[in-house]
């Protein structure tokens, strides 16, 4: 039962974040890449001002799976590391906190591209 409630919260929050993206996609001239960058920076800034963490606590993957969650991890890592290591933490924390995602993306992304071919567009 708990799982069901968690999933519903996650579904609604994740869905709503995507709806924001869809409205931007339809109503503005922004391209896919720019929307991703916009969401990423929004996530980082929202975390910095303390808004995104409550959202993650509430919705779990509904807030971490959208690309804004990537920005959230970057900002959270930097802030935590500044707290424990001082100023140098600003330069190490963000990447450290997202290292596994970036590494998986690069290694398996290259591998996937190597092993597959694009469907010819007709």
């Amino acid at each position: 039962m708990d799982l069901l409630i968690e999933c519903i919260k996650c579904f609604v929050v994740g869905g709503l974040i995507c709806v924001v993206g869809q409205i931007l996609l339809d109503r503005t001239q922004l391209t896919n890449g720019k929307i991703m960058v916009l969401f990423l920076i929004s996530g980082a800034v929202l975390q910095a001002i303390g808004v995104y963490q409550p959202l993650v606590d509430f919705a779990g993957a509904g807030a971490t799976v959208p690309i804004s969650g990537f920005g959230y991890s970057l900002a959270k890592g930097a802030m935590e590391e500044v707290k424990s290591e001082g100023l140098l933490g600003a330069f190490t924390g963000g990447i450290r906190n997202t290292a596994s995602g970036i590494t998986v993306a690069i290694v398996f992304g290259y591998l996937a591209a190597l092993l597959s071919n694009p469907k010819s567009k007709s």
């Binding site: 971490t64 802030m79 600003a90």
Partner: protein, 147 residues
Amino acid sequence: MANINQIKKDYQQIVDKHSPKNKVVTNSIKAFFVGGLICTLGQLLINLYMYFGLSFYESTTLATDSLIFISFVVTAFNVYDNIGKVGGAGALVPITGFANSMVSAAMEYKKEGYIYGMGAKLFTIAGPVIVFGTIASVVIGIIYYFV
């Protein structure tokens, strides 16, 4: 030539007339369901990993990695494009859309070689995301230090 603003305005009218009508509401509903489903899959993975005894932090990280991996497999079989056609931003905004953009760009440029083709094009969209993400995290870290 004399009235370039008039020409620009006329051009915009022609563009508006011929571009497909936006169905924002329908698209948003589709994006809501596709995006919600992808996030729910992530949540189920988190719960699965926690069930196997990992901490919440480890589970979240691993679930994100798993979604990236799943997206690669789906992209490699040329299926993600179809999800994108239905879901729009629902397939773009989740981390799976980021992963998809990496592989699909790299795949397209395979014929330009394994180093400058695939190696470089893997970062067509991932590059800006990582660059601005890193800049944002450093700026936030520095501000946080002084505040």
